[in-house]
Symmetry: none
Subunit: 366 residues, 2 copies
């Protein structure tokens, strides 16, 4: 429901980047004036020493002062204060998005709930090209979490169901979004050719989020504006924005960036169109899902070789262990081998190619 009046619009500093601490600046804005907030607060990463890639190059870490907090207590105080200020400026039917990683997102989500925000969805941004875990000590940190919440349980939040369905090729939009990280030409550089901001978010993410949860003309506030992805996408999509940013160097970059953006840029729309490739199905999934059991015997298509399945999705044959491809290649004395078509399993007295099981999983994924 649009309730914006002329006088209210006049007092709002629309399409500007405001300098200063976001809490103070938000408290100076009129209450109940904002339709949507997008907030990408500091993550409070707690990094110890340097990290090198296996090729010995050094990882350019987020070591900025603005990401340093001395304790959870201090981070929680900070979170409480800015979320409270944010809630004051939200319209009664307003909503908020916050983004974070496991370092901070649980603090964010709990505090949202404590303040009476009503969580609508948590959304997973699955990165198609995340940075690997170079030391092999944990899982690849391949996602970040967004929380979408309305001001309270009763709020009539904006949700453009059909628009998102259209973006998703006619299928209901899910809570996991596969999008690449921001790099290439979209990644803003400073005068030295270094990245202008360590954590610039991709425009595709904001595009989907603004298309789905705002209407044209809505006022979108970003209290941690950085280099202004929110403002740039809002402008493209015909939404009004208000940015707040403490650091001058980021404001300068953002101003320039947004000035060069044109509304309804068709290229920006193209960014969000995701192409669908045939999903890769690791052989291990057949084992995890119980389609093949550890210890089960596979026989080669030509009937000459046998191997046993192991719990981690590798095979073991007479004198070799490895993937279905490696073991097949070794047994045939070939440089390579497509294990999917080489190996068969026994089902109802017949030998069936394991590729049948892969097809089955792919069908489920549709």
């Amino acid at each position: 429901m649009k309730t914006k009046t002329r006088s209210e619009a006049a007092t709002l500093p629309l399409n500007q980047i405001l300098a200063g601490d976001c809490i103070e600046v938000m408290n100076a804005l009129p209450e109940e004036s904002i339709d949507l907030i997008f907030a990408d607060p500091p993550y409070n990463l707690q990094l110890r020493g340097d990290l090198h890639r296996p090729d010995n190059s050094k990882v350019d870490a987020v070591d900025d002062a603005w990401d340093q907090f001395d304790s959870f207590r201090i981070y929680d105080d900070f979170t409480r204060d800015w979320l409270k200020a944010a809630r004051r400026v939200l319209k009664p039917n307003g909503a908020i998005w916050v983004i974070g990683s496991y370092h901070n997102v649980f603090r964010l989500g709990a505090e949202l709930q404590n303040q009476g925000y009503w969580i609508l969805n948590d959304v997973v941004w699955r990165k198609s090209n995340p940075m690997p875990n170079f030391r092999g000590k944990r899982l690849t940190n391949a996602h970040e979490t967004l929380i979408w919440a309305s001001k309270n349980e009763a709020a009539k939040y904006t949700f453009n169901y059909e628009a998102l369905k259209a973006l998703n090729e006619g299928i209901q939009m899910r809570s996991d979004w596969v999008l690449p990280i921001c790099n290439g030409g979209e990644r803003l550089k400073d005068e030295n050719g270094e990245k202008a901001h360590p954590t610039q978010k991709p425009e595709a993410l904001l595009h989907r989020l603004l298309v789905g949860t705002t209407n044209p003309g809505d006022v979108v506030l970003d209290p941690f504006f950085g280099t202004g992805t929110t403002g740039a996408v809002a402008k493209m999509l015909g939404r009004e924005f208000i940015g707040i940013e403490r650091e001058e160097k980021y404001r300068v970059v953002a101003e320039k960036r947004i000035a060069s953006v044109r509304k309804y840029d068709r290229e920006a729309l193209a960014v969000s169109a995701s192409k669908r490739a045939e999903p890769r199905v690791p052989f291990g999934q057949l084992v995890e899902r119980g389609l093949l059991r550890p210890g089960e015997e596979l026989v080669s298509m030509n009937g000459r070789s046998k191997a046993k399945v192991r719990a981690d999705g590798t095979l073991i044959a007479k004198d070799v262990k490895g993937s279905i491809h490696q073991v097949g290649a070794h047994l045939e004395g070939a440089p390579s081998c497509n294990g999917w078509t080489y190996w068969t399993f026994r089902r109802d007295g017949k030998q069936v190619p394991i590729d049948v099981l892969r097809q089955q999983i792919r069908a489920e994924m549709q």
Copy 2:
């Protein structure tokens, strides 16, 4: 490292389902006795019906703010208590997995951090066949979140990196896991043909998690056992389990289920080992055994550097002496260098990595 003693094993009720409240039962177990905890705590506590404030006055159900606030407080108290009891029984190098949705996972994650657990990853279980959002008012809730945390920051948690990489067909396992929900034949039914438990987890999820973060023989505790997916998969994979479940009807179903499970054979349970687990072989042994001769020349993998082997197993290059690692790092101007993969020697006219010789010695050690 297994440190289980006979007396400890004797006092642990292995491979049993214990009846009762999980906090009381955990407090009756010996401390520091559990390798891994998997917990799927309830979150629909149905508090709205009979909610009391801490001072025992009944909450006015009309007052939404009070209702929410007290709900969270009670849930947080519950979470704090069971996580504390869980932490007591964990071995110093133990770890925990918890699973939840946006309703409760932020409370879980924040409390884990508050108690000193150290989050290793948050993992998204991306459901390949979720229930659609029928009313079209929100995104399809297509995932649940798991948190993997060690007992504390210093803990040497178990992580079978190579096994998970193998499960994912040679690519590092990511933090987003695509797996189907539990249905079909795997879904347990009660005598009326109704599902026996509302939130039965798929065995594939537990398979991946147990293969990745436990070793055969480890003790896995599930304080919210339900119909025993954890126990069933633990048994298959040769892990010990302890289940705790309050409701008799679930215990009955779980007992029957686990009794019908068979453990995979030993060979199938072996997983791809990490190189770190292999015995250490000093470079000097290659010289002592005559696999390399003092004075023999080594050439770097990239062909740009040379060094000579000395009798004590150090190398000497143009302006540097030291270990294979030190000399390699110095010549490359790198912070570190794995000399085993950096240096090659000449054999039959070809350059061969010295790591081949290490493998040879390791093979002899078997």
